[in-house]
Symmetry: C2
Subunit: 262 residues, 2 copies
DNA sequence: GTCGGACAATATGCATGCATAAATGGGATA
DNA sequence: TATCCCATTTATGCATGCATATTGTCCGAC
């Protein structure tokens, strides 16, 4: 344990903070789980994590509690936590939940009748996205740029809704594995039709901005919900060939036995 | 601390379980906060809670983490947790989020085309509710029965959606203070027009069941969302006279400064 | 009288000890 | 060889010690 302590102290010395050990444990556990190092269904042994992560059991416990909130682990029947397995339906539902809540956010944003100044960042973001998807073929860097701008678009959408409560709910929903706005996007970077998916999604961004600008709440809501369903399509495509999915972090968490809903 | 230990041991002897101390701390903290004993904005001192609740700091810490997920407390800027204050807009948004997600659940339930057997519990629940609201005047016991059946209705709705992910999301949303399906119902027990509110809500239950039975997804979704807005109306009425609200558990958490949205 | 600073008291985050419960493995028996 | 039971090992949940950060307070100076 001296070694552990020394290691912890070393890292702490590099960058100490108030909740640093918990953050380290949380991030480390996340990586271990998504990398498939801890297979789904397996109990997460705290002492083992202490050895692996170099932090004591207390932060490990807290991190597990937070990962349970994220959905990566669930409380085991007889104490402790087990790595959660996801069915295709779970993933689809997670996306649907996010889409539904983003629809709410879009409606609220439209109903608030934001000013031009309020909309400026979103407008700029859409313009940037237009430029990114414009070229006939896209590079890896272009996909990275898209992911970044796409994330910003969704953050702005939430901000325009002007509700901390809604923001929290969407944050929760997006934290679910594979439910985030940019999940699976990278998967199509190498695909020939990958660009088309982005073009369609970007058109939806444009329409969504238009609806919010005009105060069309119902239209904005429907557009946002439908926009999330491009992720549904990406999910379906990803499930079509398991090989590619396995390469993705977290791919091993999938249990494909159960049928998919959408 | 001997006294504390003895107390804890005593209670543990009464009913020991795996996470008993955490549950006790969580429940105790919830009560203290909702009773206004810990005013909003105040840091929740762990040692003080140790003395009050008779459990050590570890379960208190865990309970605070879970209450943070529930939204009753938020992480403080410099460690620890502070009791959260709610604006009227926060409450309205919480209800709207729940209504939106219940709309999703209702749509999924309708789209699954449940069998008559699947719908039997919900049908029976609606019939029971019909009987409860039938009398021209309602007693306290009638309101209690309504609350119980209403909770069951919403549970059944979630069950019929057939999605654990959606169920989790709705559970989260309903756990937000005052956002649950039965929030504010009791407040109107003494009001002359209290029964009418229940009659309207029950009519919505009936229509919702009808829509799900017929597989009308969009109608079910709209009805569920609108159904949650009766809670919005109750909230508005409750805010109208602060006096009654203060008597309610959690009333002291309200900060009425900010304007309400809906 | 008010502002500032230092000191004291207190809280937090992390690590760890300890008792009990659960899991694992081995051995014996059918 | 398969199965069941028991012992050992391990993990969990709770309590508590400790170092550091933070807060509150009191006193002095301006």
């Amino acid at each position: 344990m001296t070694a552990r302590t020394v290691m912890a102290r070393t890292v702490t010395a590099e960058e100490d903070g108030r909740g640093m050990q918990v953050a380290r444990a949380q991030q480390g556990l996340r990586e271990l789980i998504l990398a498939g190092d801890l297979p789904p269904g397996k109990r997460v042994s705290e002492p083992a994590m202490v050895d692996r992560l170099g932090v004591s059991r207390t932060p490990v416990r807290l991190a597990l509690e937070r990962l349970a909130r994220e959905g990566l682990v669930t409380p085991g029947a007889s104490g402790g936590f087990v790595v959660r397995a996801f069915t295709a339906a779970d993933l689809a539902d997670g996306i649907e939940v996010r889409g539904t809540l983003e629809g709410l956010a879009a409606r609220l944003a439209a109903e608030r009748r934001p000013t031009a100044a309020d909309l400026a960042p979103l407008r700029a973001c859409v313009a940037d996205l237009d430029r990114v998807v414009a070229p006939p073929t896209l590079s890896e860097a272009d996909f990275d740029a898209y992911v970044r701008l796409n994330a910003f678009f969704h953050e702005e959408l939430v901000r325009l809704a002007g509700s901390g409560v809604v923001a929290r709910a969407i944050e929760q929903a997006s934290a679910q594995p594979f439910a985030g706005p940019s999940a699976f996007v990278r998967l199509h970077a190498t695909e020939p039709a990958g660009r088309d998916t982005l073009v369609v999604a970007q058109e939806q961004h444009r329409l969504l901005l238009d609806a919010i600008t005009r105060g069309q709440g119902a239209r904005a809501e429907a557009l946002a919900a439908e926009h999330a369903r491009v992720a549904q399509r990406r999910l379906g495509a990803a499930l079509a060939d398991r090989d590619r999915l396995d390469g993705l972090p977290g791919g091993s968490l999938l249990r494909l036995a159960a049928g998919k809903r959408a």
